[in-house]
Symmetry: C2
Subunit: 464 residues, 2 copies
């Protein structure tokens, strides 16, 4: 904890940034930036700063380094696991005002954005050119936050997550220096890959102030197949077969019967309440028809009980809105409870056994749990609704640990797309204990004062 008082910090920042409107100490704003709706308890920041330029960010970082004040970057606040929660107070650096789309280069399939741009706003703009940015974590996240978390989501099976879709970054390092990584060229081998080092660093190595992103043509046509099975095992086996059979599948989401029942209750749909794949195909009409025809053979062989092929864009939109708003639907159903989820990812052939194993562990607990999976990547989330004041969070953590150990044994990861934050530091130790000294050495080299998002990723080396 810094030796400088909240009042001094706010006054100094106002003077530095030349404007009172860029610094807030209002209690509701401080409280809003003190948590992420999850289980992590932080310490209310001393001030929330709303920089409007890279220069503002650099000024904040120089000040923070000089006075050893923790800085926790904050985007749209949609992430979980404690990544945006200030553990030691200090400055919450809210980048939402840096929300300009700086340049669109349709011929080069790239776009330059500030970190506070939200992905839906970006896609609305890109649609004018018949283009889109594919990474889709569900929530309307900020691009800077998505890069810092190494976000992925429903379309990753086809387009990849953030890494293959970020060409270049501008960032402010702990000492206030402004650096540019990568270029707008499609590839580069000029020195160490600082772009990918900042992606997924959860704001512990630098503050991203600009991103150059790869963008893609919107497919000519899109069709969604909803395919239900009588059990989860067959649904997950179908995923393995599908990923090998088609190159134009852009989404393979797996939902269990309980998840579908919640969707039906909340969104007024009448979907078959059975384990179901939502499969999106994007391409030419002919290619889609061919691949769905081939898919039908797979589904029927695995005993599918219902197949609906949906070509209408409005109906498709409704499906993905339900998928993206499943979290809020779940929260509305369990007032007073908090959701906590697993984020396992395994090699695709291991998906059926990994889900079956998880299901066995879960069934013993009696907790309310729903399965939503980016199944085409081998990534599955079990979402638990828990009472934070009970022993339920600890119980979930124990189950998650067993799932993580199982995943690691079959070549998978404990953290596919949500990052480490605070909650999963034990899993990082389990998964990459051998790498932690090197990761810590990099952190110490780039942020010797330990002021950038302290307490995240590795608890014991970043305390400010």
């Amino acid at each position: 904890v810094s030796a400088v008082s909240s009042t001094e910090i706010a006054a100094a920042l106002i003077e530095l940034l030349g404007s009172e409107t860029k610094v807030s100490t209002g209690s509701s704003i401080l409280a809003h930036h003190a948590h992420d709706g999850g289980l992590i308890e932080g310490r209310t920041p001393d001030a929330v700063v709303f920089p409007e330029s890279t220069d503002d960010v650099a000024a904040v970082m120089r000040y923070a380094t000089e006075h050893r004040i923790p800085v926790t970057p904050y985007g749209a606040g949609t992430s979980r696991g404690g990544k945006t929660v200030p553990l030691f107070g200090g400055i919450s650096l809210d980048l939402s005002r840096m929300d300009a789309i700086v340049a669109v280069h349709p011929d080069d399939f790239d776009v330059v954005v500030q970190p506070g741009v939200l992905r839906k706003a970006l896609n609305a703009r890109l649609a004018e050119h018949g283009l889109f940015f594919p990474v889709d974590p569900g929530a309307d996240a900020s691009l800077g936050g998505m890069a810092s978390t190494n976000a992925s989501g429903t379309t990753t099976v086809r387009y990849g997550g953030m890494r293959p879709n970020v060409l270049a970054l501008e960032a402010v390092l702990a000492d206030g220096s402004v650096v540019r990584t990568g270029t707008r060229a499609r590839k580069s081998s000029a020195g160490y890959d600082m772009t990918n080092l900042l992606i997924g660093a959860e704001g512990t190595l630098g503050v991203i102030t600009e991103l150059t992103l790869r963008i893609h043509p919107i497919p000519e046509k899109t069709v969604v197949a909803r395919v239900s099975f009588d059990d989860l095992a067959n649904a997950s086996k179908a995923v393995v077969a599908l990923t090998a059979s088609s190159s134009i599948i852009s989404r393979i989401e797996l939902l269990d019967a309980h998840t579908i029942s919640i969707v039906n209750a909340h969104f007024g749909t009448e979907l078959v309440e059975a384990p179901t794949l939502w499969i999106e195909y994007g391409g030419s009409k002919k290619a889609i028809e061919d691949d769905i025809e081939f898919g039908r053979e797979i589904w029927e062989e695995l005993g599918s009980i219902d197949i609906v092929v949906e070509g209408d864009p409005t109906a498709q939109h409704r499906i993905w809105e339900a998928r993206h708003n499943f979290g809020p639907a779940l929260w509305a159903r369990h007032p007073g409870k908090t959701s906590t989820g697993t984020d396992i990812c395994v090699p695709i052939s291991e998906l059926p056994s990994a889900i079956a194993y998880a299901r066995t562990l879960i069934d013993e607990t009696g907790l309310d749990v729903s399965l939503v999976a980016h199944a085409g990547d081998g990534n599955f989330h079990f979402v638990f609704m828990v009472n934070p004041a009970s022993d339920e969070p600890a119980l979930v953590k124990r189950i998650y640990k067993s799932m993580a150990e199982h995943a690691l044994a079959c070549g998978g990861t404990s953290s596919a797309e949500h990052g480490i934050g605070v909650e999963k530091q034990g899993f990082l130790l389990l998964e990459h204990g051998d790498l932690l000294p090197a990761m810590r050495a990099i952190k110490a080299a780039l942020d010797p004062a330990g002021i950038l998002n302290p307490g995240k990723i590795f608890a014991d080396t970043t305390r400010a």
Copy 2:
């Protein structure tokens, strides 16, 4: 330079590794590992070590760290620019005996290999499963070397270079510790991206001892279109239009008239000696026909003077063999000279002007120069044949610098796929001077004694 004598080093290594056959001080072997056929003069290593296991590599690194002996990793020796040339003697660590294909997982589209596996041998093995590893730098490079260089090549326009195709690595760090990065899962957000940090680090941060690679289905059908134009400007404009028009193009190579004339002379072909695109399509018969039909419109609009569509696999193979052996063909033509090439990459819309600008600079020199470009990525190589003892290398470097400055101004890079090594350290300064302190801090953090491939990437911080 180490204080330990060559004799002591060799004796100690033989004892450590328990075998005389793993250590060589034979003069021809030492000489072979002292250069890469390019312009960089190194210092003959004290010993060449041929490790046969990760344990061997770890033992070498522990010894080297203890005695402050430089270690220069060596794969197949196909890279240029000095990356494998020992600048301070010490140990050349030749990984060619670690050439096992450890596991093929066709259902998960991944393969686990040791670093000394050559890409052609890997593809011969994968062909049994209808699969292939796409990254194709031309030479029959080793996979460990390709990762360390961040190699790419002819197929990158469709499949990407090494980064999106490496899932996980095992590596030995400077202190001899063995670490594993990534997993076999398609994605992970578990801590810093150590996989991409090692990729392209040119052996300065660790020695790669195992790689888990993504593999891909061999397309159902492949067709190559050879399209010639009356000038280079129209050929490069066609590239820009093509990249936006088809998603099944797997190669777009651009060769100028001089390059084609050398190919004809060396390989006995009778290709039209004009600026030419070699475009490979891979997919279904129908999709290829459709896309070539669309391509024809583009080519004809830009005044193509010759179009040959080649469906025969043997004829296609002959084309790519000529492309891949263009270097040797050129060397055979200029005995006593050395080749040195540029490796610029620009956003695709800038390709025509970047090539035109380079051509102007080059025409003033009167040097023998050939253009071979991975044009679909915006990456072009001008290959110069120079007399190492003359002022020609310095002249080429001056031109390259002007080309690099032009590329940076339009959002490109000076080093697309060949890395920095020794030759391009000045360009790295030009391109990422702001990032060098962070890169150097990482190097110092992971290799405090500076023994891993000293003198590469940044000259002044890695001297052993």
